[in-house]
């Protein structure tokens, strides 16, 4: 019994719930109404850190539902159409899950490029869902800014992967 417990260090609280709560807290902080010299804070999509890191660490049944809940909370907090970021984050998760074998064990720079690619896929999904929802094309420059603000978050995703990728060797 003791051996079994030692073989299961990947507790859902540690790798799913705690990172999701941290990302939600950061989302709330970055939604503060602050302008300095007329410039507002950037608005990165912190959920993409989770959508990228979780399937690389290990496939999970719980993770997609936590990600959906995170996306829905983001939508409700930001006032975007309910389900927009839930679906977009799940698309990113599905993309990583389908090619996770290619992403594992890559160098820092290559992993960062993968993260940017996945971010672009999620943003494209949100872009087209937004067109369908509002029958209007969102501004490409504003979309590009949000993409850049999110793409620089890779160090957080890399840190999460480094911390937990050896925790369950069955999925390496």
């Amino acid at each position: 019994m003791t051996l079994l417990r030692a073989a299961r260090p990947l507790h859902p609280w540690a790798w799913l719930v705690a990172p999701a709560l941290i990302c939600m807290a950061l989302t709330i902080v970055f939604a503060a109404p602050l302008r300095v010299l007329g410039l507002a804070l950037p608005e990165p999509v912190f959920g993409l850190v989770l959508a990228f890191a979780w399937p690389i660490i290990r496939p999970s049944i719980l993770a997609p539902f936590v990600l959906l809940a995170f996306g829905l909370l983001t939508d409700l907090y930001w006032g975007s159409p309910t389900g927009l970021w839930g679906v977009s984050l799940l698309v990113a998760y599905a993309c990583v899950l389908s090619v996770r074998g290619l992403m594992q064990g890559q160098s820092w720079l290559v992993s960062w490029m993968w993260f940017a690619t996945i971010t672009a896929a999620a943003m494209a999904t949100a872009y087209f869902l937004s067109i369908l929802s509002s029958l209007n094309t969102p501004n490409l420059i504003a979309t590009a800014w949000q993409f850049l603000a999110t793409a620089v978050l890779y160090p957080f995703a890399g840190r999460l992967i480094e911390r937990f990728e050896d925790a369950d060797v069955r999925f390496r």
């Binding site: 939604a31 300095v36 608005e43 930001w78 309910t82 839930g86 599905a94």
Partner: protein, 358 residues
Amino acid sequence: MSLRDGPFQDLRVPLTWTAAVAVIVAGIVGVALLLNDRRETAQLQVYGATKSVVDTVATPVGKVVAAPVRWTSEGVGGLQDYFFAIDENRRLRQELADMRRLQDETIQLRNTNARLRSILGLSVDPPLPMTAAQIITDSRGPFANSRLADAGTGQGVSVGNPVMSERGLVGRVVGVTRGASRVLLLTDVSSRTPVLMDRTNARAILTGDGGAHPKLSFLRGVDPVKVGDRVLTSGDGGVFPRGLPVGVAVQGLDGTWRVKLDSDDAPIDYVRILLFRSFDQVIDQKALSNAAAPPPLAPADAAAISAQAQATPAEPPKGKPIAAKPAAAKTAPKTAHAKPPAASTAPKAARNAPKATP
């Protein structure tokens, strides 16, 4: 005892495939929620209980987060005031000189306006009541531009109320709870606002796209707009009152006409919510639909109309079908009981108006 310690401990499932199934199930739930979302309407009931609860909870959380941000902002503002005091002094002197000239013009125009109104017997709109609110959260992405304000139904705020900063229109309320209201900004991708050019009176629809400067769509006429034209709300559709300042017309790099919003120049921490009731809210649509039919014509009047119609059979039909079709006069009392066309079409127009304008 956990599942793994029991009789199912040897059960193995292909976790990657199971995770894929979980993604599909979660995706279906997400798409269903997305299809059910209708945030662009002006109806209170579609805002949803979940959104109301989140807004209610987010208000105190956002206030706690916004407090240090506000202190920092005030500190930075103090430093800016200190270092740019001389420049600001020069600018304010120039502004004061301009304002004095405008004040003289305003007094003259107000006097003329009052005299003309009294001559014409025009009734003017009553002053709008308003309430001040503090902004708690501010989302600025390309897919959502909204703010949460700390005034709700307790302060008389209702869905559709216009929201202004010190300088100009910010947006309108799309969701309201007891202590908070969600403000959809003019820049939001689903925002549509009927506006007019102050110089030419040309109408357009201000269409947000998630960028800083919303587009002017459906512009009509020859040269309806020039760079620097003042843009105001037109009041068409009844959602916004007429004449609220929106911004200044600018031309984008792609040639499209856009508006530099006046509200961008003002601090975003406090707003004014105008307690303006839209046309859709003011009218009683049910009463309008069930309006009593006009009383039937008296027999003498019906006979007179019939005689008049028979006396002029050769005249081409102009306007009233009763003159073109003498037989209609005989059935006039019967048709008078039918639902009047004006009464039947008005509610439809009223229902359509807010959908077209938000």
